[in-house]
Amino acid sequence: MKIFNYITLIFIFALQAQDFGTISGFVRDEATGEPLSYANVFIKDTNKGGITNLDGYFVLTQIPADSGEIVVSIIGFAMVTQKFDLKSDQNLRLDFRLQQTVLEGDVVDVFGEAQKMRALVEPSRISIDLRTLESTPAFIEPDLFRTVQLLPGVQTINDFSSALYVRGSTPDQNLIMLDGITVYNPYHLGGIFSTFNTDAIKEADFHAGGFPARYGGRMGAILNVINREGNTEKFEGHANISLISSKLLMEGPLPKFKGLKGSWMIAGRRTYFDTFFNAMCGEECAESGFKFPYFFYDYQLKVNIDVNQDHRLTYSRFYGDDVLDISFRPTVYEDYDILSDYYEKSTNTFGINWPWGNHTNSLTWRWLISPQLVARTFFATSRYRFHFDMDNKNEGTWSVGNESGSYLDRWSFDFYDIVEDQTLETEISWHGIDNHQIMGGFQLKQVDYDLGMEFEYENLDTTFYAKPLEMKQQTIETSLFIQDKWDVASNIALQIGGRMMKYSLHDQIYFDPRFGLKYLLQKDLSLKLSVGRFHQFLTIANPEDETLRLIDYWLGIPGDRAAPWADHTILGIEYLSENNWLFRTETYYKHFENLITLNQGEQVTEGNDQVSTTPFNEFFDTKAFAYGLELLFKKIAGRSRGWVGYTYAKTMKHIQKHGWYYPKYDRTHTLNIVGDVTLPFIKDLHFNYAVQVSSGQPFTPPIGRYNHWEVYHDAFKDEWYQNEQLLVGRKNADRLPMYFRLDLGLKQKKSLFGVPYERYLQLINVTNHVNPLSYQYRAKENRLTGETLGLERAAVPMFPFFFTVGYRIEL
């Protein structure tokens, strides 16, 4: 009932808006036509103002009908002032195109950052733009996820993974979106790289928690990656070649047709080591038929069409695959025995074909129904699949005298997971009431899961087929949400919202309330509070202790299991100092319920002639909590920029089998120091660095050895035997040594025959510090007697010291 009173009150306020006008429009980059988000737009000599959203759109309501001046400014662009004459009830449309300025003055930078800080109510949110991505030391090449991993609150599992563990949440609890489309497995090469080509990224919005009601379906964090729209003014291209991949980006305006305007952008990359290896290997490989078996590629395409001033259509596509293709030339075997006149000829072929990746498409229709009312309708498909296919075939013929025959033995093994997501979403934002930004919408998400395993054997007489694992699900998630950002007073803002969800496998209707408060203690010093509940209806079924993860096994939450949820409580303080430092400290508590953890064990066993599996639906009930304190000192302007982030975190999970334990990604202390310095004596030379120090991760320590009893059951004679194993202590009761890594980089812009290019050098793990991935154990042996003494262990190291170079050429 209170909600209805609240809405009625809002509409009463709306009716009072009669003697005022509205100014709205877009702010874009003059050179490229890219929308400029977080641009400051205000009416001179008044307190009326606002900032542009991610589309570069602004709307100022309740502007007195009068003449005046509107000012638009943003970091790195020249300030624009324009006179206007606004009549009563008029909706004035003013679009701006800002010119980039070479003067990146400190004041402008701080001003832009301050605008973001002042505008946002929710805590734990940070935007990462291309400049930040490119100025962070990179592993081989700039990577969005690797940069996010350096932020406070984000933990890493190991050097080989760019997966994000955020405030006690696992990667499957994060919603990763590309232009609003859910991407299910956003990694290449088992997580070493993220799938997002940084050349195409305009910016990424990262919410570590407490995100507003417009986002749902996940209980961890949100990473929304926005691609560039493409240059509306001229054709441009960038090429980039690094140690492992070559990249190309092209963009330009669409040809003008019957008043339609638009832009396009396509960016692609491909690893070339396979091509390089095959070329170097030459005849030797050609003879054996061996080819380097792995490569990955991806491309992103975006097309915008402005149908008219109020309608825009955007098509966005992402297509990326990793391909492991092991194949050999067929082996032909011939045998002839002259004494028995026996002749046999056989051919053996063997191959593994394993593609995995994401394919997404989306079509977005943005409609400015009125300056205050903007609708965005979005249809997207997202497909993640891996398909491991192994084939072996042996066929041949034989003859002895007049007798002859043939034989065939073929077997194949397939293991696959296909997730197909279709989403229809409409989001309406309304700025019709002064001091309120109301947003509502619905989302319909259908997800088809197909996780299976097939085995087939064939000979000339018979075919044997088994499907030991088949899990097919179709789930439909219907959501409604509404949220209001209400500037209650000049120093108080509230963000109140809720999300209602229906999950097709459950009878229940779920409701997630979200609440945010920002209180300005003084200018540029704000206190933020966020509380909310977050439900999730899907999970991954990978063993939680696996050392390296290549692929994810996605499942919808089964009908007989309650939906997992988490409560977030976040309290933070932000301060922007006059000398360009942004200081943020946040503390959080998260409580998780109804999590599920896979019963780990051998998932496939092949004994005698039988293949059996441990089903993926054998789960343990799990609950968890996480709390922590994060500090961020960020230098946002000047010749030296970067941040120091410190995280104190504790995460614990509980399953009946183990009791409370630290998950593998728990790190108590994490300190990241990241910086970029423009060196004074050499033109355009940048030096960047990243220092990562953190507590060691938990692992389950062996404490002894014993013989595990095993049995071989047989129709004639059962046998009980023993197998020496490690006896382990409590799960994850010990910690690996402290993690330390220092990465350095140099980057310089140059020109060759008038073609600008950038060259870079990256040094990874400069001190060659041994950071253990795990321990391996072996028995010590008395070399004289052969007696087996105790055990010894060695750390399995992650990245050693190495370096990479690359060039980036602008066409």
Binding site: T462, D609, T614, H713, L726, V770, V796, P800, F802, Y807
Partner: protein, 297 residues
Amino acid sequence: MIYIYIISIFFISCTILPPDLEWEDVTSDHESTLNIIGLISADSLITSFVRVQRTLDMEEASDSLIRDTIGGNIYIYYTSQFIVRNAEVVVKNGVDEYIFEYKDFSFDVNQNEVFQEVYLYNGNDLNPQQGEIWTLHVTAPGGFEVTGQTTIPPTPEIFTEDLPDTFQIYREMEVSWQPMNDNYQLINSGHLGGEYGYEYICGINQEFIISPEESSGIYRREWCDPEAYESSWDEGLLFFSLMSMDNNYYDYFIRYGDAEFTSAFGSGSSGRSFGIDGGIGVFGSIAIDRHSMIMIP
């Protein structure tokens, strides 16, 4: 020029090797405990036995070299430090008490070794009956003491009257048995006969676990490589073995038979115990029914 530069840097990168593994001793404050497997068999062909071992800590040697003189001959061999040879092992059924004695080796009637480093009962009056509760008491030097308890499972029964006298390969046959309310069973089949004796034969359901209440299954066998074997074989024997087991046996060997912790670098276990108190391992019981029939091509 750029191309050459990249290639040369790549070559340098490849020459940077990861650091050598540095091996270090591992210590632990683990207190040794007894590790037992005790099996009470209600089947006349399987001997009841108990094995008594202990766990070792990380720095303890797992074997030692022994020089022994037996009958004037010198023997040098390794002996396992896991094995406890001087324990007192007593098994009771509530009425009688059976003392099991340690044997380094035990032979069957054909003088084939069937047991090694095991505790066996020397008498022939150990005769477990279904539903009986049997207990285990192990006392070892050093103050180790372990007890265990198992309930003898019902005797399984294959309904042979429903089976044909002869099974033809490639055909399907329904096998049924007495279902059990509270116990799991395990059925196994095997083939004996033919030119090569015990041959490997393909077929589904060669071995499978029978849940409580299950009463039948479809059986099928076929040759893996018909051209190699079929022509040289005309008749053999098909064996079925139906084993019932108590819950301790099922939990240890089947339900939790897989490694408890696995990683790319090894596997381990927290040392589960089923039917055992004061140590780790399993004290279980089984009963078996068997049946054979002629199998023809």
